[in-house]
């Protein structure tokens, strides 16, 4: 039979464990639920599959390393996407000096084809704010108020960005749709 040590150290550990396990389960559920849409959102902004996967993995890893804070965020998936897109800038600087040894990146790098590729290119060519609004709205399904909070702008401004972005994308989509007919 095991003896309990003197003092509260062991008891403290026993009490902490369920909390840690619960955190892990919460995070795992969140990851399972959000990972695909986060990847799609970041991929729409970058156009590079391998880079997007790495960025999203980094975003989720940072979320996990600060899970007590991020779990209370009103839109944790948006936090991950924003983090991933912010990390992109510093990684771009780093990756200029990297060489893929086995073409690993290139094998994953192709995204979409034909009409899909054109449409994604149109998303990427939107002005930054419009692109962010579109990405958060489409792939994370956030409402206008939450997008506004996430980007630190007003709800009417979000509506204006979204409206302009949709107009641009519609212009891109219409010829594509008519080509398909």
């Amino acid at each position: 039979m095991e003896k309990f040590p003197a003092g509260g150290k062991w008891i403290g550990a026993l009490m902490r464990k369920p909390g840690v396990e619960r955190e892990r389960k919460d995070f795992a559920d969140f990851y399972q639920r959000s990972r695909d849409n986060c990847l799609r959102a970041v991929l729409a902004g970058t156009g590079d599959r391998a880079l997007a996967e790495d960025l999203v993995a980094e975003g989720f890893a940072r979320a996990w390393s600060s899970w007590s804070k991020v779990s209370r965020h009103p839109a944790p998936a948006a936090w991950v996407v924003r983090t991933a897109l912010n990390v992109r800038v510093s990684w771009w600087r780093r990756r200029r000096r990297e060489v893929a040894l086995d073409g690993h990146d290139q094998q994953l790098g192709e995204v979409g084809s034909g009409a899909d590729a054109s449409l994604l290119a149109a998303v990427r060519s939107l002005p930054r704010r419009q692109r962010e609004v579109v990405v958060l709205r489409i792939w994370l399904d956030l409402d206008t108020r939450t997008v506004a909070d996430e980007l630190g702008i007003s709800a009417p401004t979000v509506a204006v960005h979204l409206s302009r972005a949709i107009a641009t994308l519609r212009a891109q989509l219409t010829p594509v749709a008519s080509q398909g007919n």
């Binding site: 892990r24 995070f27 795992a28 990851y31 399972q32 990972r35 695909d36 986060c38 990847l39 799609r40 991929l43 729409a44 599959r49 996967e53 790495d54 999203v56 993995a57 980094e58 989720f60 890893a61 940072r62 979320a63 996990w64 390393s65 899970w67 780093r94 000096r97 990297e98 060489v99 893929a100 040894l101 086995d102 073409g103 690993h104 290139q106 995204v111 979409g112 899909d116 449409l119 994604l120 998303v123 579109v134 709205r137 489409i138 792939w139 409206s163 949709i166 994308l169 519609r170 989509l173 219409t174 749709a177």
Partner: protein
């Protein structure tokens, strides 16, 4: 098309894209990040001396001090250390214009000491690190773009990237600093970070993957 139809059409473009990285890998990366954060916190609390000690520990062997060997310039070689490494995992070749081509085999373990020696024999002072990415604390030397060239090589249905080092463009008292690392933990070394820096320049190294 109304607004919802436009948004839906855009959404459909990536509907088959899925993130298949296991949550365990994400958690491990997050834990490593937390550990690093704690480490940096401790270092900051320890003052400048601790930072200097850390930099020395990370910078590894003294550049240029590697003994000259008769490592063949072309055709790779055999490992002289660490019995677990069956090959050195690289090939060096001198090109007609005097440049040196480095080809790394991502499927084999790289012996950094052997590569350092081989490069030294080819007249290229080098520091090689594996499993970490090292970046200069200060700025990279401006001649870097002239010194490094990357060649894409297609062979047997797969591609790889060879690095060509233009030794004549390397300024005096400079050295190349390479980091070979896996992007994802447990995979082969499949990335190669390269910098041209002043000899002995302090580098920041961190674990990747």
């Amino acid at each position: 098309m109304n607004d919802d139809e436009v948004l839906n059409a855009v959404k459909q473009t990536l509907s088959d894209v899925q993130m298949d990285r296991p949550v365990e890998a994400i958690e491990e990366r997050g834990r490593a990040r937390r550990r690093n954060r704690n480490l940096f916190g401790a270092v900051a609390g320890g003052g400048l001396a601790a930072v200097a000690a850390l930099a020395v520990a990370f910078s590894g062997g003294q550049p240029g001090a590697a003994p000259v060997t008769d490592q063949p310039l072309a055709g790779g070689g055999t490992a002289t250390t660490a019995p677990a490494m069956e090959t050195v995992g690289f090939t060096l070749a001198k090109e007609t214009n005097g440049s040196v081509k480095v080809a790394l085999d991502p499927k084999k373990l790289l012996d950094p000491t052997a590569l350092e020696k081989a490069l030294d024999s080819a007249g290229i002072p080098a520091v090689i690190k594996t499993g970490v990415l090292c970046e200069p604390e200060g700025r990279e030397l401006p001649e870097s773009d002239e010194v490094f060239h990357v060649k894409r090589v297609e062979e047997a249905g797969s591609s790889r990237y060879d690095l060509v080092i233009n030794t004549s463009a390397m300024p005096e008292n400079s050295e190349v600093h390479f980091s070979v690392f896996a992007v994802h933990k447990g995979e082969d070394f499949n990335k190669f970070g390269k910098y041209l820096v002043a000899k002995g320049a302090p580098m920041n190294c961190r674990t990747i993957g």
